[in-house]
């Protein structure tokens, strides 16, 4: 099954090995930000009382003058980031997704997006895999409220290195960016050579019967699902759709035409998320049967990430079942 993996994606060789390395996406953010700051004095970091959780402690130690902690005041953090950006700095403002963008939407809309300020809104601890903290701390609506904002770019990388590259790409892009990742350590499926470009979805696996479009931690689940489907004789394409806005229409359209059925998968509400972005586009340009995997209009709860993914239908098994359903509609 390995050889079906798109060679251009340069994924890790031990993709389905039990010993695949697990790394934090938030560490990818922290490491990238530090590297960026060493090269570019315009990079500044903000957080609202969460430097350790958002992985900017090392930044704080190395660049104390360019690090700002607003205390538990996310709206102020976003406003300050906008002001810094209007003066030519490149601020990254990070908190848990349930605090920012959830509590800061009006500030992101007016101070960041309407000003077209070059500020980066960063959310860690998104999705149910935030885990034991419970539903109050599991952001599962953030993609919906960010992708509807004019001027905003929305990035949801899939693992440590993907997040690192997304952070660097966000710094290089001039304008508002929303960057979303999680708390848990997740399988390191990409390598240094895996391409990452804002606005270009990456085909991780070739396939002709169906396309599994995923973002974030669901990309790995989609790859595992594709391997399962292979056993049933179904050839599944897997797309890492890390840029939810602007959508890579070319790659999506090509996949729709060539495979004729989609499953979308995300650790987010089905309503308004990545799958919605894909289906909005397909409905207008190439309508095909689609099944969506994600949270079905429900909050999460406390538990381990694995337990929560199972209980809320966010595993490779759920993607396989969705694929079987959608293939019948093809």
């Amino acid at each position: 099954m390995i050889k079906i993996i798109n060679p251009r994606a340069k994924l890790t060789d031990d993709l389905f090995s039990a010993s695949i390395k697990k790394m934090g996406t938030r560490d990818g953010y922290g490491h990238a930000l530090l590297e960026l700051a060493r090269e570019d004095p315009r990079i500044v970091a903000l957080t609202a009382d969460l430097p350790e959780s958002t992985r900017v402690l090392a930044f704080k130690k190395e660049f104390p003058d360019r690090f700002f902690d607003t205390g538990v005041a996310e709206q102020n953090m976003v406003g300050i980031a906008a002001g810094l950006a209007l003066e030519g700095k490149i601020p990254f403002a990070a908190s848990f997704g349930v605090f920012s963008p959830a509590l800061t939407w009006g500030q992101i809309r007016l101070s960041v997006c309407y000003n077209d300020a070059n500020a980066k809104i960063v959310a860690s601890h998104t999705g149910t895999t935030t885990g034991a903290d419970g539903a109050s701390h599991q952001a599962t609506e953030d993609i919906a409220i960010m992708r509807c904002l004019p001027n905003m770019i929305v990035l949801v990388p899939c693992d440590y290195l993907d997040t690192k590259k997304a952070t660097i790409a966000a710094a290089e892009y001039k304008g508002p960016v929303y960057l979303r990742f999680g708390r848990d350590k997740v399988a390191a499926i990409t390598t240094e050579q895996t391409p990452f470009k804002i606005g270009r979805a990456e085909v991780f696996r070739e396939g002709k019967d169906i396309t599994l479009v995923a973002c974030g931690i669901m990309v790995y689940e989609a790859l595992k699902a594709a391997a399962e489907l292979d056993k049933e004789g179904v050839s599944a394409r897997v797309i890492n759709n890390h840029t939810i806005k602007p959508l890579d229409k070319e790659t999506i359209l090509e996949a729709a035409k060539e495979t004729g059925a989609f499953v979308t998968a995300e650790e987010h509400q089905i309503m308004g998320g990545m799958g919605s972005a894909v289906t909005e586009f397909l409905a207008a340009h190439h309508p095909i049967p689609v099944e969506m995997v994600g949270l079905k209009d429900t909050f999460g709860e406390s538990g381990s990430p694995k337990e929560l993914m199972e209980k809320y239908g966010l595993t490779s098994k759920n993607i396989v079942e969705a694929a079987q359903r959608v293939l019948k509609r093809k």
Binding site: A82, G83, G106, L110
Partner: protein, 229 residues
């Protein structure tokens, strides 16, 4: 001639709804043709109902929803400090927007970082849309609140431009603290049927009312110029 001049002082307008007076000031200062003022709030105009920074030269920020300006001003002030720049950041605010929690988040932050390059000018006109501020959500003791947040506070007659200029100059001499200038004003000052009437907070006069108001103001100006100046 160059609105983007790097050493300019920054003016962050937090209470965006007063933008007609800002537009008029910019136009008279030569930022855009005075005739364009007539397009205010109309389709395809650069003069949006609430200011949009990319529409007009001279606007530092977009605003409208209250409570966001001081945080933006803090961002400008931090950037100036990082760049070791000497320019100052002025934030024009309303009294009513001190109901917003974010205003106080930024007030705390500015004091914590000793942002002495920020001066806020608060229009203490005692009204907000619904009614008088002290009836809707009392701000008093306002000066004491700001002082307890470790700001330097100056109180002036907001209608007296000499006091405004003096207070801004005084603020430049204050180190280690941001300065708030509470500008006491009378809403509708100089127009008999508007003074102290909060109903005029969000309403524009019709042509007849405007003419009557301007007549009163012109008469007042003549009185002042013959006696005071």
């Amino acid at each position: 001639k160059n609105p983007e001049w790097q050493e300019r002082d920054r003016l962050v307008l937090s209470n965006g709804h007063i933008c007609p007076i800002w537009y008029a000031t910019l136009a008279r200062a030569g930022y855009f043709p005075v005739e364009e003022l007539d397009t205010l709030r109309q389709i395809n105009s650069r003069l949006q109902g609430h200011p949009h920074n990319h529409s007009l030269p001279g606007l530092e920020n977009s605003s409208g929803p209250l409570g966001q300006g001081l945080s933006i001003a803090v961002g400008h002030a931090l950037a100036a400090r990082l760049d070791k720049a000497k320019h100052r950041v002025y934030c024009v605010m309303s009294d009513g927007e001190h109901d917003e929690g974010q205003t106080w988040e930024a007030t705390m932050f500015a004091a914590n970082h000793k942002l002495s390059n920020i001066t806020s000018l608060i229009d203490r006109n005692n009204i907000q849309i619904d009614s008088f501020t002290e009836d809707v959500m009392p701000l008093e003791p306002f000066k004491e609140k700001l002082r307890s947040f470790k700001w330097h506070v100056i109180e002036i007659d907001g209608h007296n431009i000499r006091q405004v200029v003096d207070a801004c100059n005084q603020a430049k001499a204050i180190y280690e603290k941001p300065t708030a200038i509470i500008c006491h004003t009378i809403p509708g000052k100089g127009v008999g049927f508007m003074e102290f009437e909060f109903d005029w907070h969000g309403v524009a006069p019709n042509a007849e009312q405007a003419e009557a108001a301007l007549k009163e103001l012109r008469e007042e100006r003549e009185k002042i110029s013959s006696s005071d100046l």
